[in-house]
Structure formats: C-alpha cells, structure tokens
Amino acid sequence: MSAAHLALIRFGFGPKPGKPLPADPARWLAAQLQEDPRPPPGGAPLAALSDAFRMVEARRTMPGAETQRAVANLTNSEAEAWASGCLATRTPLIERLVAFWSNHLAVSRRAGAVAAVAAGHYVREAIRPHVLGRFEDMLLAAVRHPAMLHFLTNAESIGPNSPAGRRRNRGLNENLAREILELHTVTPAAGYSQSDVTEFAKVLTGWSIAGGWAGFEFRAAAHEPGDKTVMGQRVPEGLEGGAAFLAWLARHPATHRNLAAKLVAHFYADRPDPAMVRQVEAALRDTGGSLGAAARVLVSLPQALSAPPAKMRPPHDLALAALRAVGAPPERAGLAIQAMNRLAQPLWSPPSPKGWPDTAADWTGPEALLARVDWTYALAGRFSRTDAQAAAEAVLGRLGRDALRREIGRAGSTRDALTILLASPEFQRR
C-alpha cells in the first residue's frame, strides 16, 4: 500500500495531480495538527450573523426579488467559500476534522432561512476554532451559538416558574437538552432518565438569542429559578451553573467513549476495532478532552498508513476528491456544491440533529451509485482535457487495480476514461 496515498485519501480529499505527495506522510499529518485551524485571512468577505438576519427579516417583511437574491447570494457565498477552501487547503486533515465536528454538533439549513444563512457562521465561529482545542470549549460555543439555539428550539424554552413563564403561561422545551445528552455527549449508555432530561432543560432556560441575532443572550427573566440536579450533579441557578454542567458533561468518560468511537468509525471503518477506539478514548481522558490530542492519536494508529481504505466516501468527500482529481481550481468550487445537492448530501443540511449518517449502507443505494456515475460523467465532460491515465496514477497510485488501469487505457475518449476513474469502486472509498 502506498502510505502517502492513504494519508491523503483517509485523512484528506485525495491527491491532486501535479502536486507532489508528502515524502513523509506521518510527519505531514502531524504537522497539520500544529497549525491554527482558523481560516487564513483574506478569503471572501462573509457576512456577520446579524447582517444575515437583517436580510432574512427584510425578506419576510418585503418579499421582493432583491432580498430573495441577497439571501441566496449569502448562502451560496458561504458554501462556495467553504468548498473553495477545501479545494485549495494545505491542511486537508483540518478540513476533514471541521466537517466531522460540524456533523457531530449538527445544525441544519433545513430549519429555515435564518438557519440557512447562519450555518456557515456557526461552522466558522463555533466549530472551526476548537477542532484542535478542548471539547468542552467547542460544546459551549456550539450551544451558545444562535444557529444551535434556533435549530434545537431552545431560544423559546422558558422556565415555568420564571417571571416570563408565570406571565405567559409557556414552558420548557426539552429539545436541546435531550440532544446534548443523547447525541453530543454521554449518550443513553450513561443511563440518564427522563427527569434528568427535564432538569437539564430547566438548566438551559434563558439561553437565548440576542435581538437581531447579534449573538448569545442569557435572559434571566426566562431562567428557571433554583438549583437543579442532573445525573446526580447539583447545578446552581444561573448561566455559570449551566456552563459548568456542560463542561462536566464534556469531560464525562461516556462522552469520551462516544467521541472516540465516532472518530475511529469516521476515519477507519463502519465497525471500528475496539482497541483503536480505546486508544483515542485514552487520549481524550488523559488530556481532559483535547481534540488535538485525540486527532494526533487517530492519525498515528498503526492502521493509519497501512489499512486499505474501507469507508465509503459520502457525496461531500467524493465531490471534493473528484474536483481535485480533475485539477479544478478553487474558483470552480460551485461545482462541488452542485454535486452535493445532486447526490443528496447538500451542504450543512443533515436530515436530523443526529447529522449525516456515516456508514456505507447509507450511501450505497442502487440509484445513488448510478447517480455518482452520471454526475462523474458530467464533471468529466467539463474537464475533458485532463490526462486520465496520469490522473489515475496520481490519485490512486497502487490503490488502483490493474483492471481499472486497463479500462481507463481502453476508453474511447478522455471523458469516458475520466468517468471510469472517478466512478470506480476504488475512488468511492477513503
């Protein structure tokens, strides 16, 4: 197996023809984890959250074509900025981690126009800065972000005994509290009860969105008074108590197990080897939840540069890998966004708070596989000056079978040859 190819395919978006492979793949991976994950300045200017919100509000009150277009431009420019960053990046591992954590703490553009324009901001500001930091910081940033408070409807949750609750006869919304426990942190394996969910929901009352989506706001008047007990922990009234409990959840051994299993499953195999999971879990435990430490162990497992690619590339990764393979410049990032729509994984739009599914079975439906062939054929038509044989050597190296190489050589046109390469079983995996 070619270690350099595996490094780029398992932990990135695949090689790019004409770009030399890393001479020392292990070091190349480790070096990325020393970088600042925040995007370099000078990219496309992206709107502040409140600007986005104003636009959406304007659309609501004056549904003119112009505001419609402004909202569409905003969502498109966020998406294209993300995709062009992925195409141009020197640190694909970081982009893969950003995608992983964005999906772990998922918000969805399907939740409406505000959610659609806020998702990019959420990924940039709540997820990306923390992918090599501490999980508790990422969790807190995610839960405080308007996109999450809106998506999991906590902004409207009101303590029944709070001044606002008594006045308006409205009450708790358990949505966010339940998903934090079930999906983001300890999982049902930790053995919490319905009353833990209810009490945690009370803890989170008052965690809301500032007017005009200017950011997070704690609304004391909506916060359920008094201390609460969740999973045996006493949680004092107020914002600080809630933040401290989130940190406790983030450091919980069941959370570390959950995160470790998901990470290994995402990068290695649908059913991960328990021994590998234990190593990542130990890194999280020993460092108090350092995601950078977890990532360092993840990429230095003995299987990292030796096990054959066993995961199905979801449409996200397929689109980016294919665009890199045909040498698409970052300006053509829009093609990746179109591909994700066409292959049923639109950007930042998972169908549920659980995020996109992450096993092969979810992406290998009969029509889904043929849709990949069709999309690939269309892409190959746009890049029909690519040298398909050279591209095959560059992007797969020895991971490509002789039979594939033969079919590429026998194809009747460059377009057909590229389609065969990019639709091959080898190229569907990472």
Partner: protein
C-alpha cells in the same frame, strides 16, 4: 431547464458575450435577408467510428469474405442498406442523412484518415483536433477563426463550442464562446457497462450497482429513457443551428458525440449512436433554417476500425474510415473516395482499411473554398501540410 423555444445560454455563455445571441434568435424568421456569411459546423465523433459499417462498400467483392453477414443486408432487403449509387450503402440507422444525400445536400468521404498512424484514442484525437502530425496546444479550427474578419464590439465570438467543455479543436489564441447544455444527460449505457464490470466481485458495492443497472434498464423499457437520451445530441445540434442562424451569431461551431468504440456487440451498439448522429444532422438543418444553404457540416472521427470482426462481435482500433459532409453549401449526392479495396493484399498491414485520402485535404477545402480564408490562414491551420492539396470541387457554386 428552459421552457422557451429559445436556447438557454449557460453562465459561461453569458460571460463570453453570447447573451446577444439569445435575443437575436428571436428574429430568426427575419434572417432571409441576412447577409450570406458561410457557416461551418465540425462534429467530432470520439471513440473511432467503424466506417466499413456506417458506409458499407457492398459492391466490393471482398466484403463477403471479410465481414460475412456482419453488416446490414444489401439495399432493397428488409432492414437493408440505403443505397448510395450502386457500390456503397448507408447504414439504415441514417435515413435522415440519406434524404440529405438524395437532395444533393450530403456527401461521404471514404477511406480517409488523418496523417498520423497511432491507434491510441487520446493521441489520435489530439492530433485530429490539432491538425498536425505532432501535438499542439491549439486546434486547427481555432487558428482558422483568427483569420475571419473581426467582429463589431458586443457581438458574439465567431466560434462556438457546443457542449460542456471547449474541445482542443477550438482552443487557442482566438477566444470562442461556449455553450453548456442543461440539463446534463446520464452516462451512456455502454460506459455504465464498462464501469459495472469493475464493480463485479466488490463485496460491498457490486450488488447495489447491479440493482441500479437493472432498475435503469427497466425504466428504459417503460418510459424510453434511452430515447430521451438520444434526444440529447439532436437537441444540442438544434440549438447550435439556431445560434448559427442568427444574423449576428457565431459562424463556426464544434459539437462532439461519443460512444463509437465498439469493441464488442457492435451490431447492437452502433445503430443507436448512428441514429443520434443522424438526428443531429436533421436538427442542424432545422435549426439553421434558410442559413442551411450557406452551411457546411463536417463529421470526423480519430481513426477507423479493423477491417475484420474480432472475437467479441466487434472491431478494434484501425486506420481509415469515413467522414460525413452535409449542408446546402456542399456539392452532395456523391461518395468521394479512391477505393483501396478490402482484399487481403489491399488492407493496411493486412488489418485495416487503407487511407487513400487525407482528412486535412477536406478540412482545408472547407476553410479555403467555404470560409474563404486566405492561403496563409489555411496553412497556419494545418502546419506542415504543404503537400496536402485542398480537395477540389467540394462545394457548390
């Protein structure tokens, strides 16, 4: 998807200044009075068309020994060839072209090849498009465009690439317009078949892939999905015709059609592609309207195929084949060939139809006698071809 009868201009088209064409196409009916600039359409048949099956020299006594009952029956028999004057017969899938031939608006060039003798698709296509014996960074049609009179500011480019990408044929120093068709078509069935073979034995993916292919075949049987696909090329050709028809529209267009690489099961695989090409000729004529009388269409392929049928009822990469000419400007109704014969001793390397004509002679004649380019421009389009004289008498008038 556009619902209008007007062509949809892709984003790239707009960027390249084609917007004017869409509005001008409105005035198509007024084009009768438009000045008579010539139009040239080049169709690239990628994958190597078997000329001996598309235009069968049924009058050659060696054919029976060579191919037996592989080609369609002789003219007059059921499903038989469409006669081209007693020696050659056109494949029955090309009734539209045959009608043009009968109206003296189409001609066949046979036993023709480029100057190269490689049997690699990629290399040969590059050389065919470069118009030279070595690879070049620009195409002959692009270099020819450079010699066309300059256009007024704001009018579309003279050249138009119809499809998703600009082929080498039209790449080079002279900017051309590009038109991206929407919606895109599915991958062709024979390509899916090749990919399907690569999935066989894949524990995870082979079953769903097989099911997907079966589902498609069923859908094709039910709703004629393949028929819809075949409309793809004809629709594109029709759009090209309308764009070329516009008074201020482009004058030169390139289209591409793949699917000719019939290594196996040729009897089943070739007719659908021939039908697409045939429908494309008809659609071009319709789209061009009155401008058809000032149009020449040239369809060429990178090389022909082996004279003998191979072990899988197909043919392999060969040498000479056919080129098609159509359009009101063409002096049609004839087959242009110095027939080399297909007897054993007459085949090139005892294998392929021998080339007795150079494709460049045909292309050069179109540049000189149809687009009326000066000799130095024709020479720049086909460097190193001084000894290849333009084919005389290709055009009317």
């Amino acid at each position: 998807m556009t619902t209008s009868h007007l062509p949809a201009i892709g984003r790239r088209g707009l960027l390249l200044g084609l917007a004017a064409v869409a509005t001008l196409a409105n005035a198509r009916l007024a084009l009768g009075q438009a000045p008579g600039d010539p139009r040239l359409v080049v169709i690239l048949l990628r994958g190597a068309l078997d000329g001996l099956d598309a235009v069968v020299p049924y009058g050659d006594p060696a054919m029976a020994a060579l191919r037996g009952d592989f080609p369609p029956p002789e003219p007059g028999r059921e499903g038989g060839l469409l006669d081209l004057g007693g020696f050659y017969g056109l494949h029955p899938a090309m009734a539209g072209l045959h009608a043009l031939y009968a109206a003296n608006e189409a001609a066949i060039v046979h036993a023709v090849a480029g100057p190269y003798r490689t049997r690699s698709h990629f290399e040969a296509q590059d050389l065919m498009e470069a118009g030279a014996e070595q690879r070049l960074a620009s195409g002959w049609l692009n270099r020819a465009l450079g010699a066309l009179p300059p256009r007024r500011n704001g009018t579309p480019r003279s050249g138009l690439a119809v499809g998703l990408d600009v082929p080498l044929l039209l790449r080079g120093p002279t900017p051309v317009g590009a038109y991206a068709q929407a919606p895109e078509t599915d991958a062709p069935g024979e390509l899916v078949e090749r990919i399907r073979a690569l999935y066989q034995g894949d524990a995870l993916l082979s079953r769903p892939f097989e099911e997907g292919v079966r589902g498609r075949l069923f859908a094709a049987g039910q709703i004629g999905r393949d028929a819809a696909r075949q409309g793809g090329f004809a629709a594109l050709a029709g759009i090209a015709g309308r764009l070329l028809a516009a008074a201020d529209g482009p004058r030169v267009a390139a289209l591409e059609l793949g699917g000719w690489d019939t290594h196996n099961n040729q009897k089943a695989r070739l007719p659908p592609v021939l039908r697409q090409l045939d429908a494309g000729f008809v659609a071009l004529k319709e789209g061009l309207g009155p401008a058809w009388s000032r149009t020449a269409v040239l369809a060429i392929t990178e090389f022909g195929r082996t004279a003998r049928v191979n072990g899988t009822a197909g043919t392999d990469h060969g040498t000479a084949g056919v080129a098609f000419l159509a359009g009101g400007a063409i002096r049609g109704g004839r087959v242009i060939a110095d027939w080399p014969g297909v007897g054993e001793a007459q085949l090139h390397q005892n294998r392929d139809l021998a080339a007795t004509r150079d494709l460049r002679a045909i292309a050069k004649a179109l540049l000189r006698d149809h687009l009326r380019l000066p000799n130095n421009a024709v020479a720049a389009a086909f460097p190193g071809s001084d000894t290849v004289r333009p084919e005389g008498g290709l055009l009317r008038g």
